[in-house]
């Protein structure tokens, strides 16, 4: 469709192009005539380029839309659940047989006080790997909202004090990132495999990108 105007341009205004071309064959090519033919070639090339450019832009914008909508959904999930990472993958076997390696946990944080038996995800100061364990002891101070919390993994023989910072005997509420409320088995293996073999991550992203670019919709 974009090429049509150029053709019709040529047909409807013969005095600028075709007539000048005819004149050219007999006379010495003067600079203005040579310029117009060169201009016509350049225009055609430009039209061809702009088709591909437009489609390319279209594909990139579609890709961008997909990526940003995924981001929007993720951020909305963070908002709804109240946690920085609302979906986590279990990596260690310390909560077996309830949560095995590769299971997915859905987290939610509410203002309810932490009670014994809650499965919580917490971060130790200075360490960035969150841990999912069960609360086994709670001491709540009178009159204030402070609570002292002790956790333990179901499959561990002893409580988590060995994992806390040296000298730290209790967790506080501000260490807790969320409570586990939902569970989906085995789906997390994808994440574990992609983290262990980083090449797969790049291959997957490349394949997805290729798929989006080659699909005509």
């Amino acid at each position: 469709m974009v090429t049509q105007p150029y053709l019709s341009f040529e047909l409807q205004e013969p005095n600028t192009f075709s007539v000048s071309k005819k004149k050219e064959s007999r006379t010495i090519p003067n600079p203005t005539n040579a310029h117009t033919t060169m201009g016509w070639v350049a225009d055609t090339l430009h039209s061809v380029n702009s088709i591909q450019l437009r489609e390319l832009f279209n594909h990139f914008i579609t890709l961008g839309l997909i990526v940003t909508s995924a981001l929007v959904i993720w951020k909305a999930l963070i908002c709804v659940s109240g946690c920085q990472s609302p979906v986590v993958v279990v990596i260690s076997p310390s909560m077996e047989p309830g949560f095995g390696r590769g299971d997915i946990l859905f987290l939610h944080m509410s203002k309810d006080p932490i009670r014994a038996g809650d499965i919580v995800v917490y971060n130790i100061d200075g360490k960035d790997i969150p841990i999912v364990h069960r609360v086994i002891e709670v001491r709540e101070r009178q009159n204030t909202e402070e609570a002292y919390i002790l956790t333990k993994g179901d499959n561990n023989p002893s409580d988590d004090r060995v994992m806390y910072n040296p000298g730290q005997k209790w967790l506080q509420e501000h260490h807790i990132m969320g409570r586990a409320v939902g569970f989906l088995p085995y789906v997390g293996w994808v994440t574990i495999i992609m983290t262990d073999i980083p090449v797969l991550k790049y291959i997957l992203i490349g394949a997805l990108g290729l798929l989006v670019l080659t699909m005509k919709e």
């Binding site: 974009v2 049509q4 105007p5 053709l7 019709s8 341009f9 047909l11 409807q12 600028t16 310029h35 117009t36 201009g39 350049a42 225009d43």
Partner: protein, 125 residues
């Protein structure tokens, strides 16, 4: 060793099966599917998966076994794959009839129309 023994040896069976499979799948994937067939395939896939999901859920619930539900559903997915992905002949019941090359010569190709509105573009000098 008569011919019956030869037929029943596993080696022979394996060879015949694999050759049969190769021919079978080549045949299926090289056949075409027509428009009606594609629509049929898509509808069949959706109905089969939904039906198997309902059957799987109901039987899992009644038999109180999660395993049973997953197994029935997995079987259903495999069956649906076998039935809708390869180009079976029954998807080609209304085949497309392409024009013969001799016929094509007789009918002129449509020309682009010459009254297209001129697009506003500065003439490059």
């Amino acid at each position: 060793m008569n011919s019956c023994d030869l037929l029943t040896t596993p080696h022979y069976i394996f060879k015949s099966l694999s050759a049969f499979n190769i021919i079978f799948f080549l045949l299926l994937f090289c056949l075409q599917m027509d428009w009606q067939g594609q629509k049929l395939a898509e509808q069949l896939m959706q109905i089969m998966l939904l039906a198997f999901a309902v059957i799987a859920f109901a039987s899992g619930y009644v038999m109180a076994s999660f395993q049973m539900m997953i197994l029935i559903y997995a079987g259903g997915v495999v069956l649906t794959t076998l039935l809708t992905i390869p180009n079976w002949p029954f998807f080609n019941r209304h085949p497309l009839v392409w024009l013969d090359s001799s016929e094509a010569e007789k009918h002129p190709k449509p020309q682009p129309s010459s009254n297209v509105t001129q697009k506003k573009k500065p003439v490059k000098k």
